[in-house]
């Protein structure tokens, strides 16, 4: 109560009271200064309170301010981009951060046998038993009722952060389950050999397609980037060996077919070449033959007048000239004169005196 009257009195009669009560004056001073401190502290608190409303949004996230729980703005406009922003502190406003550009991953192992990354890397996976325990070992059933192991990793990014964040309690679980379902679904529609060897890409695409469809159907607000699928035949030794044996037999079959196909190429190429040479040879023989006859005819007409002049002399000349040139080229000439007694002579000849040379292949051996 003194506080109330004191400044008034102080104002009305400052001078007479001043020296009277130095103690109350000191008290008054102290109170005044402590109120100044309180004021300052309150001011400071308000500043701190307001300043605590500043927040930063990182490049790979968006933020949304919920004022009394309600988003400020509609749809895309409600999203704050990277940078510094301000909101009223809680409980008036609440900042909800949403990761967007970061690629997120989920892995599905519902179709994979019991193992861990460490065991896989170290090669210390437990050996497979004769059966699969449904509580431990994952696997899928193929369209032709075979058992195989499939696992997949799905990369995705958020395209509708509002839906992703505010539509689901755990949206990544929904993505995970969509991938699980896609693996089971795709397996049930593909035969074992298609999954493992013949149509790996088709199988992978089927998983990706099914996952995308489910995520779109449930409007999860994500887009699928990539889906990596690993498949393997069962690890049970006899089954595994049988699969490997088929695989090898198919490789051998493909090799045989490849060899047959290269034989085809080879033999057809050779036949083409031979046929070309047969035709070319025939063509050149034709030309040669026609030219030969033509030149003989020309020659014949040239020498005919000379022959008509003295046929006998012409014949003698031509015959002897021919014999001369023929005898020059002969390897052996054997002259057998008539016996004086007019009887016939006996001549013995050893033919084929030069045996054929042995082939080079034989000499090499």
């Amino acid at each position: 109560m003194n506080d109330h009257s004191h400044p008034h009195d102080d104002h009305e009669h400052p001078h007479p009271e001043m020296p009277v009560d130095a103690g109350s004056q000191a008290l008054s001073e102290a109170l005044r200064s402590s109120f100044a401190i309180v004021r300052f502290v309150m001011f400071l608190l308000i500043v701190v309170f307001l300043a605590s409303g500043f927040f930063q949004v990182k490049p790979n996230e968006r933020a949304m301010i919920l004022r009394f729980g309600k988003p400020r703005g509609e749809g895309e406009k409600a999203l704050l981009g990277p940078g510094l922003h301000w909101s009223f502190p809680y409980p008036i406003d609440e900042v909800e951060r949403i990761s967007v550009t970061g690629v997120q991953k989920v892995e599905s192992t519902v179709g994979w046998y019991a193992t861990t990354k460490e065991m896989e890397l170290a090669g210390t996976e437990p050996p497979a038993g004769p059966t699969l325990n449904p509580a431990l070992d994952g696997y899928t059933l193929t369209a032709d009722a075979n058992i195989i192991h499939v696992r997949a990793t799905l990369s995705y990014h958020v395209v509708d952060p509002v839906r992703f964040q505010f539509g689901f309690v755990a949206a990544s679980n929904v993505v995970q389950n969509a991938l699980n379902n896609a693996i089971v679904f795709a397996s049930a529609n593909f035969k074992v050999d298609d999954i493992l060897t013949k149509d790996k890409v088709g199988f992978k695409n089927a998983i990706e397609k099914r996952t995308t469809e489910l995520l779109e159907r449930d409007n999860v607000g994500v887009a699928v980037d990539q889906c990596d699928v690993t498949t393997t035949w069962p690890r049970q030794q006899n089954v595994k060996n049988a699969f490997i044996a088929v695989f090898n037999a198919q490789i051998l079959r493909d090799q045989a077919l490849q060899q047959a196909s290269s034989y085809t190429n080879q033999i057809l190429t050779a036949a083409e070449a031979t046929s070309n040479s047969i035709v070319n040879l025939a063509e050149s023989r034709r030309v040669q033959y026609v030219n030969d006859i033509s030149s003989r005819a020309t020659n014949f007409l040239t020498i005919l007048p000379w022959y008509k002049t003295n046929a006998n002399l012409f014949v003698q000349q031509r015959f002897n000239e021919t014999m001369g040139s023929v005898l020059t080229n002969l390897q052996e000439k054997i002259y057998v004169p008539d016996r004086l007694d007019g009887k016939s002579r006996e001549l013995r000849l050893l033919l084929n005196r030069e045996p054929p040379k042995p082939s080079t292949a034989n000499t090499n051996q």
Partner: protein
């Protein structure tokens, strides 16, 4: 004066905050709220914002997450019999959400665990019923149409939804799908045996196919090659014939003196036949060797 007003302001502020705390509540964008008056549901708030209420014990507020919950309670494989009496293990996942918070509060005062328990029971019976209606080939099928996988999922979903609607739990299942499909442990052994014997068939098929197809390919190649060659030989004959036809127009020249022509042709034949590596045995009757018997002026080419 200043000090008093400050106290008043601070006091008023505290009173406002306290009153605010007692008489107002926020509903987040992810929530729905139910207001009860003396324990009876009087209002539900499914839009976000700031709302007023009477202080306790007059009114109480219950808030629930209205987002889609993806429960993992169905992790365990459950065995059911298919229509063709094959045991089949299935596990499904679902997404559900609270649609009527007032009803939900009354039916499930214990909250989400109670819902999941209820859903698990519902789902289990729906699944058994639907699986029992389909043969195994509806689940896995290599036929052109593929498996009826999605249709079966839809059937289970429809059945669960119908039961939820009938019992009016205030919740709705948004989606449902198979998470795993498997076989009982002892059946896997039989499947492995069958797979192994199927592989044996494939091995022998691959071997036989390889040999047979390779043989077909080779003989086809041989056939094609011989066709090419015989076509070429035919063409060569045609060319030869063409050559002879062309040559025949020159034969007229030789008609002028067939005797001389014949002589010249024989000379050419003699020259062509007696080339290298030839041994010729001749007597004195053959020209020009008639010279050896002293017959210097005559010759007899005809002998």
């Amino acid at each position: 004066m200043k000090r008093n007003s400050l106290i008043v302001i601070v006091g008023a502020l505290l009173v406002i905050i306290f009153a605010f705390w007692l008489c107002a509540f926020q509903v987040r964008t992810t929530e729905v709220a139910v207001v009860t008056t003396f324990g009876k549901v009087t209002r539900t708030k499914d839009k976000p914002g700031l709302f007023g209420k009477l202080p306790p014990p007059f009114e109480r507020v219950y808030k629930f997450d209205k987002r889609i919950q993806s429960s993992e309670f169905e992790n365990k494989f459950r065995e059911d019999l298919t229509a063709d009496s094959n045991p089949l293990l299935t596990s499904v996942y679902i997404g559900w959400s609270i649609t009527e918070p007032g009803v939900f509060l009354q039916k499930f005062p214990a909250g989400i665990p109670a819902v999941e328990q209820q859903l698990a029971t519902l789902l289990s019976s729906s699944k058994s019923a639907v699986v029992g209606k389909h043969p195994l080939s509806d689940f896995v099928s290599a036929n052109a149409g593929g498996s009826k996988f999605s249709a079966i999922e839809d059937e289970i979903l429809a059945s669960v939804r119908a039961q939820l609607k009938q019992n009016n739990y205030g919740i709705e299942v948004e989606f449902l799908g198979f998470k795993k499909i498997g076989l009982p442990e002892d059946t896997t052994q039989k499947v492995f045996d069958r797979m192994t014997s199927e592989r044996q068939v494939l091995i022998s098929r691959a071997q036989n196919e390889g040999e047979a197809q390779a043989r077909i390919i080779r003989s086809d190649a041989d056939l094609r090659a011989s066709k090419v060659l015989s076509a070429a030989q035919g063409e060569a004959l045609r060319i030869q014939g063409q050559g002879e036809a062309e040559a025949s127009k020159y034969l007229g020249a030789f008609q002028q003196n067939p005797e001389l022509a014949s002589f010249l042709f024989r000379l050419d034949a003699l020259r062509d036949s007696l080339k290298e590596n030839t041994t010729l045995i001749f007597d004195q009757q053959t020209g020009p060797f008639t010279l050896f018997k002293g017959d210097l002026m005559t010759n007899s080419p005809s002998k």
